[in-house]
């Protein structure tokens, strides 16, 4: 691996997180969040956690596509556009914030190690968790569908009364 890549990705991660919070325009903010997800995924891949990297990438893209779709609904147009100088300032702030993580260390390396494969850990040790997780997600999906359907019914009634 090329030295310095992890550090560069970490700086990009903090900078994009700062931009996602501080930029006023919704679309640019969501784009910065997309960069955060992609860089997190890259960081996982560089650390050897390839499966989690792929999962993070897929989940991140799903969340972001929905955010892009509903972004217009959730945001009003800001009165003032973000000035380029502010964006540059936020990026510099993010780069400064990432310095401690690159040059200092507070955590001791773990001495415990195991060679359990992901398949073993997922299907032999926590198979019940996986099945229960599926049930939880199904329940959540049905709940969201019901809530949105009820809301649609109410808004139809209101428009009918008017």
């Amino acid at each position: 691996m090329i030295p310095g890549v992890v550090e560069l990705v970490s700086i990009g991660l903090v900078v994009s997180a700062c931009l996602a919070i501080f930029i006023d325009e919704a679309i640019y903010s969501v784009a910065a969040l997309a960069a955060t997800f992609v860089l997190t995924s890259a960081l996982y891949a560089l650390s050897g956690a390839v499966y989690v990297a792929i999962f993070q990438f897929a989940v991140g893209i799903g969340t972001l596509s929905i955010l892009f779709l509903s972004g217009e609904m959730l945001s009003e147009k800001p009165l003032n556009k973000t000035k380029p100088i502010k964006s540059i300032g936020v990026a510099v702030l993010g780069a400064i914030l990432s310095i401690p993580a690159i040059f200092f260390s507070i955590s001791a390396p773990s001495m415990v190690s195991s060679t359990t494969s992901l398949g073993d850990a997922l299907w032999n040790y926590s198979a019940v968790d996986v099945v229960l997780q599926g049930l939880v997600i199904l329940t959540v999906a049905i709940g969201i569908a019901i809530v949105l359907h009820e809301n649609k019914k109410k808004s139809k009634k209101r428009s009918g009364q008017q």
Binding site: V30, A49, F55, S75, S105, Q133, V140
Partner: protein, 105 residues
């Protein structure tokens, strides 16, 4: 390179956004950043047990996505109902409605 510090910085950015930003979209983004910070911490601390840590993180991702979907649905409903995504305005509208109903009684 210390990933615990990196995740602490990410957590701090997320909490700052959660406390200071008034728009629902920003609140959602802050929650996502906090979740990302937590996941990053777990993955990097479990680097020696990659199989187990990845298995748990895949389960955590699923829950996180489900939570995000619920939050997003609620945000869409709230912003549709009040016609704004500003928390202060939503609270103000709610207080005004309450005051009106008290005055009628």
């Amino acid at each position: 390179m210390d990933f615990v510090l990196l995740s602490l910085v990410m957590l701090a950015i997320g909490i700052y956004g959660l406390l200071t930003k008034r728009r629902l979209l920003k609140v959602f983004i802050s929650i996502e950043l906090i979740a990302t910070a937590a996941t990053l911490n777990f993955i990097m601390l479990g680097a020696n047990n990659l199989g187990i840590s990845q298995a748990f993180m895949i389960l955590a991702f699923s829950t996180d996505t489900a939570v995000s979907a619920v939050i997003l649905a609620l945000l869409v409903i709230v912003s549709k109902k009040y016609g704004t995504s500003d928390i202060s305005e939503i609270v103000r509208t709610e207080v005004e409605v309450e005051e009106e109903s008290e005055a009628r009684q």
